[in-house]
């Protein structure tokens, strides 16, 4: 097969051109009436026929060029890759693992310099420091902070689902508990963010145990349903307990976080004033960026450490086989509860951060869709894999944010086209594509927590998803 490809690439090219033309012709025939013409009513209520040759041309070109590229480049490339994989599988695997090994470090370094990278680039682009600062707001806040919140939430949920194998569909409830803990305690008692951050985590962990107790005996679908109900109950309590939570109006004017007592306010005593910097809201955003980055890294660090502890191994063993766990003297009750509580705690941290960042919380932010998105990130990333989950969060959340930026789509589809509206459609499409392409998520392989000779990744075909 390789011979055919290498000996006559020209015939391959000719074949591609032919197939591209056929595809274009087919697309023309198919779309001529569907896309090329459009019936409309004019102002006098008459039926008029609009001709859309431009759009039709785009369809036909996409079909023709797409087919040509597929035949000429993608298919031979795939075949060549499969061939080389077969022949030099070992060598390639080694190279891949070397890249994989350094990937988290590169990613981490990038994350730490990201705000300055953005400011620097924009400052150069705009030609002024101030322009760089203001321009970076969007990238630091909408992309950086937003993605990192989801990364942290997904890493927290990963402990419950990815490690312990307990399908929790109500994770957003703990996020809500953390957010409201901070919002209520700070507005009623004026407690500072740094005191309330751990408290919010502890409250959420307590709620995790409260949820854990009744669902200990449940498995699989039943567990999922009860946790889903739990999430909804928390939200409904927040809506209806108006005396405390102000219901759907939400709690506004929540105190901002401070950098160890230095507030990020304009004027004397503020952060910018103290350091002699020009006034800008971007400092607070950058501060929040580093705060959530550190919180997320704390989650990752704890997860990595816990996996090497007996409790982490017990979680994974629980995911694999609960009965065998009990036969080895592992108390599955406390093991499950610690998984729920640990996962919930990180949800609570993220919640209190969310409240401090927004300055406003309402039950609207804690709907089931949020739980579903977090779960989708965990599943797409590959259950149990921190790097995979981070990538999935960046793709899913960053992707949907990016859709807001795709102004050029308006030029194609007309001015009344709003790309954000297609968010969920694309979200679903991406999930299907990833699940078909990689059924165990981006990173399906499991890294063992201990090794005798050599750390070998455990292929996803052996790991189980857990059943309860």
């Amino acid at each position: 097969m390789a011979d055919v490809q290498t000996s006559n690439p020209e015939s391959n090219f000719a074949k591609a051109v032919k197939e591209g033309l056929v595809a274009a012709a087919l697309a023309l025939g198919l779309f001529l009436l569907i896309v090329g013409f459009r019936t409309d009513q004019n102002i006098r209520n008459e039926l008029v026929l609009n001709q859309r040759w431009g759009l039709l041309a785009i369809f036909v070109l996409v079909a023709g060029i797409g087919r040509f590229l597929l035949t000429a480049y993608v298919t031979p490339w795939n075949a060549a890759r499969a061939l080389s994989k077969r022949t030099v599988a070992a060598k390639e695997a080694k190279e891949q693992s070397a890249f994989r090994k350094s990937f988290p470090k590169i990613g981490l370094a990038l994350l730490f310099v990201y705000p300055f990278l953005v400011i620097g680039t924009l400052a150069l682009y705009n030609g002024s420091m101030m322009g760089g600062l203001q321009g970076s707001l969007k990238y630091v806040d909408n992309f950086g902070i937003q993605i990192l919140i989801y990364v942290m939430l997904a890493w927290g949920l990963n402990i419950v689902i990815g490690l312990a194998g307990l399908l929790d569909l109500g994770y957003v409830a703990f996020y809500a508990v953390g957010a409201y803990s901070y919002a209520l305690l700070s507005s009623h008692f004026g407690l500072s963010f740094w005191l309330l951050l751990p408290m919010a985590g502890i409250f959420a962990a307590l709620w995790g145990i409260v949820l854990g107790f009744p669902v200990l005996r449940l498995r699989g679908d039943y567990l999922a349903i009860v946790t889903l109900a739990f999430g909804e109950i928390i939200r409904l309590v927040l809506i209806n307990w108006t005396v405390v939570t102000k219901g759907t109006f939400g709690i506004s004017g929540i105190a901002k976080a401070t950098l160890f007592g230095i507030p990020f306010t304009p004027g004397p005593g503020g952060f910018a004033n103290l350091l002699g910097l020009p006034n800008s809201g971007v400092y607070y955003k950058i501060f929040l960026y580093y705060l959530i980055l550190l919180l997320a890294l704390l989650t990752a660090w704890v997860t990595i450490r816990l996996r090497r502890m007996p409790i982490g191994r017990a979680w994974e063993a629980l995911r694999e086989d609960e009965i065998a766990c009990r036969s080895l003297g592992i108390n599955t009750t406390t093991t499950k509860l610690t998984a729920f509580a640990t996962g919930a705690m990180f949800g609570g941290f993220a919640g209190s951060f969310f409240a401090a960042r927004q300055g406003f919380v309402s039950p609207e932010s804690f709907v089931f869709l949020e739980s579903a998105i977090i779960l989708a990130i965990v599943v797409l990333g590959g259950m149990g894999s921190l790097v995979g989950i981070a990538i999935a969060a960046a793709v899913m959340i960053g992707g949907t944010e990016l859709l807001r930026e795709l102004e050029f789509l308006k030029h194609i589809f007309g001015n009344d086209f709003t790309p954000e509206l297609y968010r969920m459609l694309l979200f679903g499409l991406a999930m299907i594509v990833v699940m078909v392409w990689k059924p165990r998520g981006f990173v399906g392989n499991r890294e063992p927590s201990a090794f005798l000779h050599k750390r070998k990744l455990v292929s996803s075909e052996f790991t189980k998803e857990g059943h309860g």
Partner: protein, 508 residues
């Protein structure tokens, strides 16, 4: 009780009066045995004898209905296993187990499997995770020790090279060995193995024998073992307990058990060639009815026994076979199935047990004068077991459609029922007794419970019956006052005029 303990202090596990019932099914019935310290005790028996249930009771996966399970540890501590949760039994009483269908953590590596087994000591040394999380050196040392211990066992089971491979990737025999090693990593004093040799080839099975003997001799761990592979049982076990239908039928050294006629009967019934022969004969004779086949077979077996042993004892025992009551067809089918299964189990029986069995079965039974289990009654035994209650009930009924169900309901007829009580409604359909004025749904249910389903039953009530019925319906004089009997007579007549809708199962 204390004196008893001192009496048998070399018993590591005492099972006393153990019973386990699942609803109506009695899986274990009043079982008593002991496992000696430092010995290998084998628990054998035909399929469905309740061996795994005994294991599940010992390891806390089932709570026994009755009985006491006393585990005596080396340091003299005693644990009553029936009162402990499953994981506490492993943790405190030091009883570890393996499973009939391997339960490894297939997604964890071989090494990790062994580390999970050391969960409890590691948990302690990591200060319940908190100290370990903060990086205290005690945990690091404990973790290194745990890996060393895992390596020790990996060397024992010959899997050091594959330590970093996922457990699910191992071949079957290695998985079995790994499961044993994993159980041993919990440092048990009693190791319970549920069919460790199942699915192993001869070489692997020999390796397993060596491993188990090694475990017993080097670590002093006592082993309790369920096994079908007789080469394993007879070769390594010091003591064998044989179960059948949840009761112990034999207990002793492998040799004495091997020659116990009861054991042979339980495992083999009659000699397998005989059964095959009989089945063939039945076929040849063109007996298409299963019942007839069973009759033929059992009478053949008896005949043969009579021929070989014309002493009276055996014959009198055996005659219970043909003198069967009229049984429902279902029971007969069951007995045939049972017979076939016996054949199958005999065929899979091991080479060691077989020759002994061939010589002994017919001879041994009358010689030992064991009236309870003569060899030839073996095929007939299930027939006797056919629900005794069903027989009288079925005799009364004109057209029993579901005999098993009838048997159940017959036993449900409450005390104080009237003379003409039925086990089940005729034709499976009761009359609408509530049509009689004065009988409501509650009373109808009560009447049904007492075997009254039809108008003509009420119509034929005598005075004594009325008194009996009033006793359980808890009202007096009403039956006469409201003239139930008269009403019932009218209703019965009316329903007879119709072309018998009840018998054809038609509705009102």
């Amino acid at each position: 009780m204390v004196s008893e303990v001192q009496k048998n202090n070399n018993a590591i596990l005492r099972v006393e009066r153990l019973s386990m019932k699942f609803g109506g099914l009695i899986a274990i019935n009043d079982l008593n045995f002991e496992a000696k310290r430092g010995a290998i005790t084998a628990l054998i028996g035909p399929n469905g004898a309740g061996k795994t249930t005994v294991f599940n009771c010992i390891t806390g996966f089932y709570k026994p209905t009755e009985g006491m399970l006393t585990m005596t540890r080396q340091n003299g501590e005693e644990y009553l296993l029936e009162r402990m949760a499953d994981f506490v039994i492993t943790k405190k009483a030091k009883v570890a187990r393996t499973f009939q269908n391997i339960r490894l953590f297939s997604g964890l590596t071989v090494l990790e499997n062994l580390l999970v087994a050391q969960h409890n000591p590691l948990m302690l040394s990591s200060g319940y995770t908190i100290l370990g999380l903060l990086g205290f050196p005690t945990y690091k040392k404990a973790a290194a020790d745990a890996i060393e211990k895992a390596r020790f066992w990996l060397e024992k089971i010959n899997l050091v090279d594959r330590a970093d491979d996922p457990a699910g990737d191992l071949p079957y025999g290695a998985q079995r060995r790994l499961e044993i090693a994993r159980a041993m990593c919990t440092e048990p004093e009693l190791l319970c193995l549920d069919e460790p040799a199942a699915g192993l080839n001869a070489r692997e099975s020999a390796e397993l024998n060596k491993l188990l003997l090694d475990i017993r001799d080097e670590t002093g761990t006592s082993i309790l073992l369920i096994e079908h592979d007789m080469s394993v049982v007879m070769e390594i076990s010091d003591h064998v307990v044989v179960l059948e239908y949840g009761t112990k039928i034999s207990d002793g050294t492998p040799d004495s058990v091997k020659n116990d006629p009861k054991v042979i009967a339980a495992y083999l019934g009659v000699e397998d060639e005989e059964i095959v022969e009989m089945l063939e004969q039945a076929e040849a004779a063109g007996v298409d009815d299963l019942t007839a086949a069973v009759d033929l077979m059992s009478s053949e077996a008896i005949h043969e026994l009579e021929e070989t042993h014309p002493d009276a004892a055996a014959v009198s025992l055996v005659t219970t076979g043909p003198a069967r009551p009229a049984k429902p067809a279902a029971a007969k089918k069951q007995s045939v199935a049972k017979l076939a299964r016996t054949t199958a189990s005999t065929a899979t029986g091991t080479s060691e047990a077989k020759p002994a069995a061939k010589k002994t079965p017919v001879k041994a039974a009358p010689a030992k004068a064991e009236p309870a289990k003569p060899v030839a009654t073996r095929p007939a035994a299930p027939k006797k077991a056919a629900p005794a209650a069903a027989a009288p009930a079925a005799a009364k009924k004109p057209a029993p459609k579901a005999p098993a169900k009838a048997a159940a309901s017959a036993s449900q007829i409450k005390a104080g029922a009237t003379a003409n009580a039925l086990a089940a409604p005729r034709g499976g359909k009761a009359d609408r007794l509530i049509d009689i004025k004065g009988i409501g749904p509650v009373n109808e249910r009560k009447l049904n419970e007492h075997g009254i389903f039809h108008f003509d039953q009420i119509a034929s009530w005598k005075k004594a019956d009325v008194i009996a019925a009033e006793a359980y319906l808890a009202f007096d004089g009403r039956i006469a006052r409201e003239d139930w009997i008269g009403q019932a007579k009218a209703m019965a007549k009316a329903s007879q005029k119709k072309p018998a809708p009840k018998k054809s199962g038609g509705a009102e």
